[in-house]
Amino acid sequence: AEYRGYNHQLEQESTKYFIPSSLPLEVANKVEEHGQPRYLEDEGFYVGEKPVVLQQNKNILESRLLKHGGSDWFGPDGQVDLLPNPVTEAPTKPWVDSVDELDPCIETTYVKARGTAVEDKYFPGSDENELQIDIGTIIFQHHPLMSREHVLVSDITKMYDEYRIIRHKNYITFYTDKLAALRNAAATLKETLDETTMTEDAFSAQRTHINDFTAEIRRTTQQLASAESAERDMMRRIIEVWGDIKSIREKQGYNNTSVKLVVKREEVNYQQDVHHWELEVENQVSERKEEYDVTIAIAHQEEVRKYQVQLQEWKQNRLKLKRIRKKMQRGSQENLLDPNSEVGFPVEEEELNIAGNIDKPQKPDKPAPFDKDAVRNDVMNQLLANRRNPGEAKISLELTHTVNITPISSVPALESSRRRAMQKSTMSRVLFNGREVFLTDPKTLTSDFKLNFGSIFRVRIAQWPESLKVELLSSGLVTRTLISSIFLTIPPTTVHSGNVRLGPTEFLSTRVESFNHEGVGSNTPFTLRPNDASPTSINTKGVIISSVSWSLDQDGRVLAPKGFVERDDPISGGNPLKINDPVIAIGAEGLQDPESLTKWVKESRLDPNDPENAALVPFMQGIKDGEGFPFAQDYFRLEQLQEEFNFLTDEEFSHLNRLRLLQLRDKEVAEFRNISMIPCNEHEITESAFTTYERRLKEKDSLQSIDTKGLEGGALSAHRVEVLRFRQKVKDAVLHRFYTSRHHHTLQDMVHEEQIPDIGTLGSSMAKIVEPRRPLKPIRKTRKKATSQNLNEGSVKILINVVRGYNIPTRQSAHAHQQNRRGAVQISSSSLMAGQTLEPNSKSFLVSPFVAASFQDTVVTTSVAQGPNPSWNEELQLPFSAPNNDYSSSNLQKVDDVLFIHLFDRVTEDATPTDTEDPTTIVTRLQNYWLGSFKLPFSTVLSFESQEDTELLAKCAVFMADCNKRYPTRNVKTTVIDIKGESVLITRFIRALPPPPELIEGLNPGSKEATEKLARFVSLIPFVSDNVTYAGICDLWSTCDQFMQMLCGDEEEHAILLLNFFLHLGKQAYLVLGAAVPEGNTAYVLTLDQTARDYTIWNASTGQQYFKGDPHTPLQSVGALVNDKNIWFNVQRQAMPIRMHFDVTRPADWKPFFGATATPLPSIQPESIYFPPTDQSYVSNLVDVIERTLKDKCKDRIVSWRPRHITRWNRSGNSILRQIAKGLEESITKNDGRASEHNTQILSQLGDVRFTGYPMDQPFTNVESIVSAVRSTEVHKIQDPDVEFSMAVHIHAYPSSVLAVWVYVAAIVNTR
């Protein structure tokens, strides 16, 4: 490795690297021929619209193309061709000139040709079909290389040809002879016309005859006159042009053409001429007189006759009128006497009117008399203009080619360069259906601009002939230029090589060509004659003498395809460039009819380059694609082959179950997300695979449309349906957001990377070195989390550590009465505590409690301990199986199974039958009495890492980072996600809200009753964890009105509602963010009693209150306090409420979020909530429903739960229980001593019975949860044969459909 200098590297690079410039390039480099860009659009070509590309990028591309010699990529305007040419049918690549230098990347490989599958283009079968094409001569009437002299000569030649034709046909002689003959005949007829000898019929026939002759003579005279004038005109023009030619030749000093006009004069006899002349004049005048007689004089006589008849009638009418008038005068007198006679009068009156209205007929005007002199003058003038005047020599013209063309050596430079240009050879190629089939030898133009090809060739064809085109190409040095293209007609099958004749076909090219030399160019203006005012411009045009015919085979059979019908297509044979106006061709209505328009476009073979056809270009393409009518098409590419790739119709697609299954799985629809092994055959998938999904869809639909029928027998009010619908909507929206965001990964999701260490972490890592190896107070290390990937069934277990219990209620007497389940038991994996409101009774018996835990239909129990303060120290194991065997965290969070922990009292009862035969045997019965239970949703067992990744405000982020650094485990939030999925500062949720007025009516707002009643009200709103509702997504906070509307929420919603009520009562209250057992991170409410300086902690979702000093507070750690103004983070060493100071004004204990002067932010809570009164009829209906369900269904259930025993119902017990149940809600809120009173009440009424009762209350969610609560008491497991059951239901209705449901179930054993 030798060191080379940087400059050396640069040098090397400059030879190796090419850096395309982004600056605009010289236009001249990009344009091929003349260095001048042509702007096609300005010239009127249809260019289409190019896509927008950044100019810089375009420049880079251009310079790269130029560097690699791709000048073919540039259009004539010096711009890169950004789109395929609108007129080309298929994309093409530029022509590669030399094969040797072929770029390897565009090298082509040979692929065996295969016929395209377009069937109908080809002939059926393999008949031999052959066309014979004879390209004879091409005669240019105008050619760009013609000089001015040539142009004139071409003119004169054309005119001379016409003149010759006229002379050849000899119209004048023909008409003259005809005229003479007619006159003869007319004269004969007139002679024989004799009124006396002939019958009337014969006479009139003769007369008509003569009239006919006269008309014919007149017509012939006119024809003769026009023929004469045409010939004279033609001669005059020819002589004029000849004059021009002569002057041009004289002016330029050389001859380009050999044309010479010879005028032959024939002297005539003047006398004879005059005689003929006068005779002719006389003849014509007399003929006109005759004509006048016939047409005008006779018509006049006829009119006069008619007039006289009319006059006669009129006179008679007049007489009649007079008579009537007289009659009327008489009749009016009679009329007075005889009313019956009045019938006749009106009729006559009418007649009178009619008669009076007839005007006197007009006498026809007498026509002007035949003015012989005027007619004679007219005739003389006409003859003078048209006919050879008397004495004028007879002239005949002859065009000869006798003039010598000046040789090239003696002409000026410009002319000689023109003549040299004429040496360029031209060839023609023949294209059949757009494919080249033949190329003639190159020929040079003759001096009279003719190309003699004289080549006959045969084309064997396999496709239906659509077009046959001859292209004239002039071969330049490198490329060939297309001069013109001519369409030939495909001959009908009757035309074969035996009978075909060469015929001319005209062609025209609008190609623009101009030269520096004497050539006048094509479609370029030039001055033909020196004295012309405006320049002329002539298009290249000419005639091809050719023939196309079908070949004959050896047997003389025509080799034409069977069934070939010549297309009725006059244009293809003629001039293809002729513009046909669609309006003329198909009429204006046709323009509205796409089909006829398309058809017309198809037939007329328009030139797509012609700007006038620009609007029709899409139509031409549309035909080719064959897919309907492309009206709004402003692009060129189409999915031409899409049709062929549609294997099935859309309808068939929708019926494919497997495809549907795969698609649903791909969309991550809940039911199909984890489906595996989708069968590979369509028939293996049954419709049942979709039933759950479809049912869910249907349910969703039925929620959309108000249809409460199918839902729990009408137990749901319209309000609840509304709530369900709202929840569904929110859930859908949240799920949608969640799943879209789940596919959006951040670097943290993909790559595990160490954080950049700062001083703190570096310091702590330093400190690690010196820290003691075996500390005296070891810090508990958390168990390493198992990743969920390697989990499978059977390997996951739930572990419950049951440690000990406190204050378990004891049996009071033989008639043990377990009361008040509200003495809730809190159990966690580490400790079990019981906070019991009942004081241990001095007369109490011992109790034998044990704990049973059940999860997913599996029950495990601890051993039975003794006494009210038992200690078990046992570990219970419950197997866990996830739905669908999917242990991914998102699925696990959806598990809504509940872990039940029940506390039972085991009683051993003497069940020895009285009439036992064996007195030595004592039979005892184990009876489990339910003491209390505790539900733990699985979602709280499963612990998650925080998935909060919100766009926190910068301050929040700083605050949170600071807090987390100091006490990472303490629960603090600054922003939360509201129901719309937006981050909201937590203080905005807090605002004083008036509680339902019914609740605090008549109570002192600051009193204990009021607060307890509110807490009770809030706790009765059903609890649903966000984790279950919005599985694994996030914790959503809803505002109080949303909460009241949904009637469900988790700790935060309950706590906020309670806090807002408390604030309204004027209490000093805070939201406590902390961790509690068993909820984990949760929210409580803290109130401060001003007078007593006493803090109370409220669990809003249960309604329980704890004093600050209570050691059994479930709240284990306090992270932060929040009110409407501020957030305070707990920076005290201790987080247990009992060891804390709650004075937020002390900065040493509490770190505020806002400074002291900050104004509170506006709240997102409403000013007040409307609590609609609960419909009492609905409540009573609901009581009925529940009772019936429990009595009918549940009775059945209780019966079915204990299949081997008779189940009896104690009716008197029912009514007593109902009485008690009604009082229970009161006793809860008042919290007075009535709770214990009712045992005595029961016992006094029931007499000597053993009574085991379970009053339960819960917020109303649905009937099913009530039934399962009844079941969880295990009251049905009492096996005493004499047992009877009683039950009562009471619902206490609070406003806003908040319902407290009390169910009192009791087992009564008569001990008498």
Binding site: L662, M677, N681
Partner: protein, 203 residues
């Protein structure tokens, strides 16, 4: 079920072979982990889905090879070729301080055609997102790693990562399939009638 089912509902894919060797020019010791990643319609009927190899030292000849000869053997049952199984190989090796550092991730589809295949699996590692992190990760020996090695078998989320290529591993496969053709999945070219015995190297 005796004999061959004329109307199969699943197809079988058996792959065995070895992670033979690797070329990582800059390292001395390496071991590798492999795991198979497959779609939802695939089930492993036998064989190990994951494994971890011995640590091997680089050969001291000019080939500089790490040879593991670590056997793979797995049989799949499937109904849908979508989610065709991939072999994910990740290599780890200790650095000078003896800290375990990831040296490369790579994934390759199990070859589809029956026969013997020799496949080269290119490897790459994620790089630190900044220079500073590069230094600290070097100091602390905690290089960036993929959260789950299986992400290299899927395309989702790759756009947020940056990687550097780093050596390659050679894997040989022997593939046997059953009933694929009966289910309409024709994997061999139509003009090949016999199983090709020549090995193909896919790079």
């Amino acid at each position: 079920m005796a004999g061959i089912n004329p109307n199969p509902t699943v197809f079988l894919l058996m792959a065995n072979g070895q992670i033979e060797s690797a070329v990582f020019p800059d390292f001395d010791e390496l071991y590798c982990k492999f795991s198979f990643v497959h779609g939802q319609d695939w089930v492993v009927t036998s064989g190990l889905e994951e494994g971890i190899s011995q640590i091997t030292r680089r050969s001291r000849d000019e080939r500089q090879l790490f040879v593991w000869n670590f056997p793979l053997d797995i049989t799949y049952k499937s109904t849908n070729p979508y989610g065709w199984p991939q072999l994910v190989v990740s290599c780890y090796g200790p650095d000078v301080f003896g800290r375990d550092i990831v040296r490369g991730y790579g994934a390759i589809h199990i070859p589809m055609t029956p026969g013997k295949h020799k496949v080269k699996v290119p490897m790459f590692v994620p790089v630190s997102s900044s220079k500073l992190q590069q230094i600290t990760s070097w100091l602390l020996g905690r290089r960036p790693e993929f959260v789950d090695p299986k992400v290299v078998a899927q395309g989702e989320g790759r756009d947020v990562t940056r990687v550097r290529s780093q050596g390659y591993a050679m894997v040989s496969f022997n593939i046997v399939t059953r009933d694929l053709k009966k289910l309409g999945y024709d994997l061999s070219p139509s003009d090949v009638t016999s199983i090709p015995l020549s090995s193909t190297v896919i790079s």
